[in-house]
């Protein structure tokens, strides 16, 4: 079980968090092309290596946070509150 540092609550077990999305995606508007909308809806980077991901600390403060971690070694590089 991985251990994630919640910027609000401190280090907590992975089981308290829900994975949400790749970080850095923006929501396209109504006029976006089908391709852009599909990219937003369905495409994941599935990074091998350092990835920035949004997680929700659902079993804790409920806040969405950004976690940077290595998807191969599972080393956690850091985390930050959303919008910070």
């Amino acid at each position: 079980m991985q251990r994630f540092p919640c910027p609000h609550c401190g280090p907590r077990d992975e089981i308290e968090f829900h994975y949400a999305a790749d970080a850095g995606k923006t929501r396209p508007g109504r006029q976006s092309s089908p391709e852009d909308w599909a990219r937003y809806r369905f495409m994941r980077k599935n990074t091998k290596g350092t990835a920035r991901e949004l997680w929700q600390h659902a079993g804790g403060c409920g806040q969405w946070i950004c976690i940077e971690r290595d998807t191969v070694s599972h080393a956690v590089i850091g985390s930050e509150a959303l919008g910070s």
């Binding site: 079980m1 109504r30 929700q56 599972h74």
Partner: protein, 939 residues
């Protein structure tokens, strides 16, 4: 073994405390301090089981967790373990043990004849021999003969305890290296946990010679354990670390007198001092009862006072067996040492059911009743591998050893290839940060432990076992290699080498050595198979621990439950909430409650209905974005029904929104969907809104909601005297009022899910019972969830998730308005205009009226045929007999359904198992069967 006896003195056992047990029905006696295996050996039992494939007789082989043979069915009072490892199970009075995988008893197995056909059932035989005409023909019989142990469905085990612990240092293994590490860690002020599988700490010191810090190693270990406990370390014996997971998380299972206990440990640092497992030697019939690991023979002798044989041949390739031969001679046995380093080999064991003698490479034959083997030592690197550590073959050590140092994880002692006592102590001490030069000292001289596996094809004649538990011989490996399955992972799966419940603890390295010699490769070139948790089997019950039944999925309860029970409510679980399905006797209950709602007044407990508050200056902005239906145009104190969508455009939930004030809304979402809706709101709030200007607060559990409905409901509500006018002018349909009940605030909402005049009255949860009682005294009759779902079906009101699925969009159920009109952004907006969303043959919500009086089965498909092709164009989503109308009503999703009004559909239901089933015909009608104008809402 003929010469297997209990000595008159010596060992950890307490000869004054005899323990009675039975094996295959025969009564036997052991002593406190025995393992099941030592007691069986002391009782002269040589055959403890039959082999997996060939049903060959098998005896106790080891003295530890690596045991491939001695798996027994154990019963003790309530406890039943179908595959207990006799070598690690502590003997207890009253144990009933049986051999497994034998037809009859282990000593006389009716399936023993299978061994005579061994040459016809080589590796992968069933892929080759049992494929014609179909594997299915043979499968049942082969499966009946396979497998180890039998679960008893009647056996029940209580909840296992579960502990969580965070420590600075976790030491796995309590041998010399582990003890030194734990002492060093404690000395530097760390919190320490040390775990060992054995009944006491000491590891190899418990059986082997060795002086530490001026005392016998055994005494030093006992002293170290006391010092650790006194110093505040957590010392867990009979505890196996079965898995090492991300970020230094460890799973431990502790065996206690009453069962097992799971430990979830998080450690800043881990020292793996897991020792090494002795390797067998390869020679013909090396699986006969009476062939044992040399270290195990020494352990039984020194620790349990059991001399496992009288005429002993020690087949060795290293120095570790010196003390065994000395000890056995001292215990009165005849000993002959056959040392492979001097080109002395045992080539064959003679004897049918047990060892009766051996044949040596020079042709000499010898009588013997015990062959003690030591083909070298394999470091136990399973946990290191769980942590993604990579091993490398060390020619010098004759073993796979860790290649890299991992963060926060050290490997010390025999596990690291440091087999000598002095080296083990120094490594353990150093791994935990002990002061250089201050490690516990020993006078024990270094020995030659290293021994590469001896594989000489000349000595592999006959049937030579590599994997005892899965019955894999060198011939199987030769066959796999010949058929090109010579990559190690292929070999493993083709021959099943190392795939038994012992996971090849004694066989993997020898198997690799055989393969390497066949392929002309060096050890290590072929790679190794991957170790995965658990290190040894752990029962599911233990891993589940407390997470079972209601403790795993606790049912949620209503605040008014006692009142419902007093009314003889029949409870069912709806979306995780225990709710009244109906009241009183089942017969006719639902119809009775439905008719009461249509003609008089009912009271219904709607407490689980969502009450999520959205508060703040940006509340209207957020709710407009979340809802498909525009909500910001709602006047204060008014209600509006609306839909929420997913980003994919599918209907996520529906509900009524109340605007309490300019900056305050309450969302009444579906009862079983509240946490998901709250999370959905929260996600969007944090993602794209100013988090200082809008807040989400789920108050569902704070309020009890009692709904009073039916033509007589107004009179009932009036008599409750809620201190607020309920005249239709002041409180119209979709209107809202605040009053008082029992001195506390009450919210009254004119909203209806049943198509009748209806009042949803919410009071603080603690007053729910009083409000219920008041409504009952005023003449309202109780109504359960089942009646509600019939009433809403008569009206064509959907239940999201029942009448919609993951593809249903709002325009499919007749809510196209916002899609056509709204230009601002809302969740799911873009998805409503994709190619798929604009198809004309989308499934749409319709009513279905059966042509006869049978209720349509939910899930029945509407089938159309053209030529030979049959195709489903939709299905029934909800269905019931309508008591008010006197005929069955149903909703369904049907392709282009709104254009099919009046069409008759052929429906087919296949039943639960595609047996039986039924056919129906139904007319497509509008999805509202009663009061299409909604006049009853105001009646």
């Amino acid at each position: 073994m003929r010469g297997s006896v209990r000595l008159a003195s010596g060992g950890e056992i307490d000869r004054s405390r005899p323990l009675r047990f039975t094996f295959d029905g025969r009564p036997m006696t052991g002593y406190a301090g025995d393992t099941v295996a030592s007691a069986l050996l002391a009782s002269g039992v040589s055959i403890v089981g039959r082999s997996f494939k060939y049903h060959r007789p098998r005896g106790i082989f080891s003295a530890g967790i690596e045991e491939p043979n001695a798996l027994l069915d154990l019963r003790l009072a309530e406890r039943h373990d179908p595959i207990c490892r006799a070598t690690v199970e502590r003997l207890a009075d009253g144990m009933a043990l049986c051999s497994v995988h034998a037809s009859g008893t282990a000593a006389s197995d009716r399936l023993a004849i299978i061994d005579r056909f061994a040459r016809f059932i080589p590796a992968a035989f069933y892929y080759k021999s049992f494929m014609w005409p179909s594997w299915r023909l043979y499968e049942d019989r082969i499966r009946a003969m396979a497998g180890i142990g039998m679960l008893d469905p009647r056996a029940r085990r209580g909840l296992a305890a579960e502990h969580h612990r965070a420590v600075d240092l976790c030491v796995v293994g309590g041998g010399p290296a582990g003890l030194a590490a734990a002492l060093a860690g404690m000395g530097t002020g760390k919190s320490v946990l040390i775990a060992d599988m054995d009944q006491r700490l000491g590891g190899s010191l418990l059986a082997r010679d060795g002086e530490v810090a001026g005392m016998p190693g055994r005494d030093w270990a006992g002293d170290a354990a006391v010092r650790l406990r006194r110093g505040g370390a957590l010392v867990l014996t009979q505890t196996m670390a079965f898995g090492l997971y991300d970020h230094n998380a460890l799973g431990l299972v502790e065996r206690t007198d009453t069962g097992e206990r799971l430990w979830r440990v998080r450690a800043r640092e881990i020292v793996l001092a897991t020792g090494a497992i002795e390797r067998p030697m390869l020679f013909a019939n090396n699986d006969r009862p009476g062939v044992m690991l040399a270290g195990a023979v020494l352990s039984y002798l020194r620790r349990h006072g059991v001399r496992a044989g009288e005429r002993v041949v020690i087949a060795t390739a290293n120095d570790s067996t010196h003390e065994l031969s000395v000890a056995l001679r001292a215990a009165g046995a005849e000993v002959l040492v056959v040392d492979a380093r001097k080109s002395d080999f045992v080539t064959k064991v003679v004897g049918k059911d047990r060892v009766e003698g051996v044949r040596l490479a020079d042709g000499t034959g010898l009588d013997a009743d015990l062959v003690a083997v030591s083909g070298g030592f394999s470091p136990a690197l399973h946990l290191y591998a769980h942590a993604k550590g990579v091993v490398a073959w060390s020619r010098q050590k004759g073993a796979f050893v860790p290649r890299d140092k991992l963060d926060g994880l050290s490997v010390a002692g025999a596990a690291n290839g440091a087999f000598d006592l002095a080296a083990a102590l120094a490594e353990g001490w150093g791994a935990a940060g002990g002061e250089t030069g201050a490690a516990p000292r020993t006078s024990e001289p270094d020995r030659a432990w290293s021994a590469a596996p001896v594989v000489d094809p000349e000595h592999l004649r006959g049937r030579v076992w590599v994997d005892l538990q899965n019955d894999v011989t060198t011939k199987d490996i030769v066959l796999a290699h010949r058929e090109s399955f010579s990559a190690i992972e292929h070999l493993k799966r083709y021959t099943t080498l190392g795939m038994a419940t012992d996971q090849g603890k004694t066989s993997n390295v020898n198997g690799l050595a055989v393969l390497a010699s066949l392929a002309g490769r060096e050890m290590g070139e072929a790679g190794v198979t991957t170790f995965r948790p658990p290190y040894a089997p752990v029962s599911f019950v233990t891993i589940a621990a407390m997470h079972r039944g209601e403790l795993s999925h606790p049912v949620r309860r209503l605040p008014v439950e006692p009142e419902h029970r007093a009314e003889r409510a029949h409870f069912r679980e709806y979306g995780g909430i225990l709710r009244p399905a109906w009241y009183g006797a089942e017969e006719g209950a639902i119809a009775r409650e439905c008719l009461a709602a249509r003609s008089r007044a009912i009271v219904f407990d709607g407490s689980p209905l969502g009450k999520i508050e959205i508060v703040g200056p940006d509340a209207a902005k957020l709710i407009d974005f979340i809802f498909y239906t525009r909500m910001s145009t709602l006047a204060n104190g008014r209600l509006r029904y609306g839909l929420m969508l997913t980003e994919g455009g599918a209907i996520f939930d529906d509900g009524v929104v109340l605007r309490l004030a300019e900056d305050r809304f309450i969302v009444s979402c579906s009862s079983s969907h509240v946490p998901a809706v709250a999370a959905h709101l929260e996600a969007w709030r944090q993602d794209i809104f100013d988090r200082r200007r809008v807040f989400i607060h789920d108050t569902t559990a704070s309020w009890a909601t009692i709904t009073i409905g039916g033509p007589g409901s107004m009179a009932v509500v009036r008599s409750l005297e809620l201190g607020s006018s309920i005249d239709d002018a002041d409180l119209p349909h979709m209107g809202f009022a605040e009053g008082r009940f029992g001195g506390r605030p009450v919210r009254i909402a004119r909203v209806s899910f049943i198509g009748e005049r209806s009042y949803e009255i919410s009071v603080p949860a603690s007053l729910g019972g009083a409000l219920w009682a008041a409504a009952r005294s005023a003449g309202a009759e109780p109504m359960g969830v089942e009646a509600l779902s019939v009433l809403r079906l008569e009206k064509g009101f959907i239940i999201v998730g029942a009448d919609t699925d993951g593809e249903t969009m709002p325009h499919d159920i007749g809510f196209a308005g916002p899609r056509d009109k709204r230009r601002d952004a809302y969740v799911g907006d873009r998805s409503l205009f994709t190619e798929d969303a604009m198809r004309v043959d989308r499934r749409q919500l319709v009513g279905l009226r059966a042509l006869d009086r049978r209720v349509l089965p939910p899930g029945a498909h509407a089938i159309v045929s053209s030529g030979r092709e049959r195709r489903s164009i939709g299905f029934v989503t909800s269905s019931a007999m309508s008591p008010a109308l006197g005929y069955p009503v149903a909703l369904g999703l049907v392709e282009n359904g709104r254009m099919r009004m009046g069409e008759v559909l052929d429906l087919e239901d296949y039943g639960a198992k595609r047996t039986g089933g039924s056919r129906h015909q139904a007319e497509v009608v509008a999805p509202c069967f009663l009061d299409g104008q909604g006049a009853r809402l105001h009646a």
